[in-house]
Symmetry: C2
Subunit: 335 residues, 2 copies
Amino acid sequence: MTDRTAGLPRRGALALAAGLLWPLPAARAQGGDPLPSWRDGPRKRALLETVAAITQAGGADFIPPEARIAVFDNDGTLWVEQPIYTQMIFILDRIRTLAPQRPAWREDPDLRAAIAGDLGALAASGTAGLLKLAGAAQAGTTPEEFQAIVAAWLRTARDARWQRPYTALVYQPMLEVLGFLRDNGFTSFIVSGGGVEFVRSFAWPVYGIPPHRVIGSTFALHADERDGRIVLERMPQVDFIDDGPGKPVGIARQIGQRPIIAFGNSDGDLQMLRYTTEGPGRRLGMIIRHDDAEREYAYDRDSHVGRLARALDEAPQRGWQVVSMRQDWARIFPP
Amino acid sequence: MTDRTAGLPRRGALALAAGLLWPLPAARAQGGDPLPSWRDGPRKRALLETVAAITQAGGADFIPPEARIAVFDNDGTLWVEQPIYTQMIFILDRIRTLAPQRPAWREDPDLRAAIAGDLGALAASGTAGLLKLAGAAQAGTTPEEFQAIVAAWLRTARDARWQRPYTALVYQPMLEVLGFLRDNGFTSFIVSGGGVEFVRSFAWPVYGIPPHRVIGSTFALHADERDGRIVLERMPQVDFIDDGPGKPVGIARQIGQRPIIAFGNSDGDLQMLRYTTEGPGRRLGMIIRHDDAEREYAYDRDSHVGRLARALDEAPQRGWQVVSMRQDWARIFPP
């Protein structure tokens, strides 16, 4: 049988390869508590009560299923983003693999830092730096080729601290939220500052989110012909950065509806949280706060990756729930 | 109750307003023939056999549901596009409404033609002309405001030939295809050269396609603040034309998977049809040919709107099915 799934990794295959045995069914409600990894408290209550109010037919806060849109940041909200974004690790590996054939790269300071594995310099270069390196490392591939390259990398790469695949370092409480919202008629989207095709390569097997419900930063695509076939080639130029003020723009362009619920963890999610909760009617904005150095990481105002300052300061006045990983989550990762 | 549906028209409300009483249930299979408005013949057989092969578990052509992606052009494929695109009629009405407050518009030949209602000049200006006028007519609104304006217009505007709402001039056989594919696990997308927000304003009530599954041409969106809230303002500059070679790009960016089935009707759909059917495994490309002047319109090579020449010439060698509206469709519009 030829490959008919057009670059989409089989859910079972990648989940197995990643050591995740069908995380989503396990994350679903099984008669009892739909959020078993959330400890009782104001954050869990806000989630349960908001969804109950929105789904109660005839209630004052009822929202029909076609308007039940939820958005999730990815890095630091659905999976680990420290000590540096997983996509950056991928790009570093990819750049080192390709470097021997690209001597010109050694003239560029960012590329030189990447080849040397200088994480500090790279973290300081921010989203723009990430995307520049991503362009250099990934240009010339089709979206389908690129997804296959990422999927192959995810099968073998391991996080240095936990020695586990990156796709195993997703937050079990958030998998439960995805399942809980799905069971209540919500349509969930990932709205990531990362490259859209990078996130798409694992969003289906790991989160149950199909490619068309992933919004991310994009590279220019050039439509060309090769051997009598249309080929879409990924160019090195970033044409959209889905971060900060870009997130509401990406949401409006790709979803076309204002979300009802938003989850984020950094100032890059501030505008997405505002755009969501400034809409009329019942809304919910939640910030995942990384305050658990023992089980994961503790960082906020001074972090190069996932800095959280302004959104944290504005959370009380805007009615956003700040989730303490240490207090609110009984478990961090899937069992 | 305040408006919590964020600009999404209620399906029942708009369908009723448009004189369409829940078209989709009627279009679905009710135990028997899933495509009752299609006459028996090679085109209907191609549709039924392709879907049967793709959905047969264990079969050589089986494709899992997560890869069952179908794409549909809108103008001329799902609804009438003659004598000129419906969006152009909307824009003309809108420009005439706004013209008294915009005296500068009379300096521009395209805008002057629009104010004068010169359809010939406008048809000749093509997609680029349409989008320029669209930008002028629609700039300064938010996506939500714009959808409300379009929805209000669709409730009252009538096609001159049939004296029916434009949303009643959709093709019943295509509503049946949408329902048939949905019932067989496909996820369908509209991939239109028209403005994405225009099509989104009616795609849900009329086709059952939610806003996030509509891809179209876009205007630049500017994120701004107004009264302490984030406001997305639609700018007059077109930033993406989802036509011709733009269609595979729009598909790759927004869907992230190569489609299995594509429907189009003009040369603007050529690259979308190619991108779909050049993929490996079983694929289906279909062209709706407008050859029924009595019940609808007859046009192809010489038409300013929906010109069909190259795609028609290439159809045999590429294995595309050319649907004759006259022969293959027992009914054109919903009853």
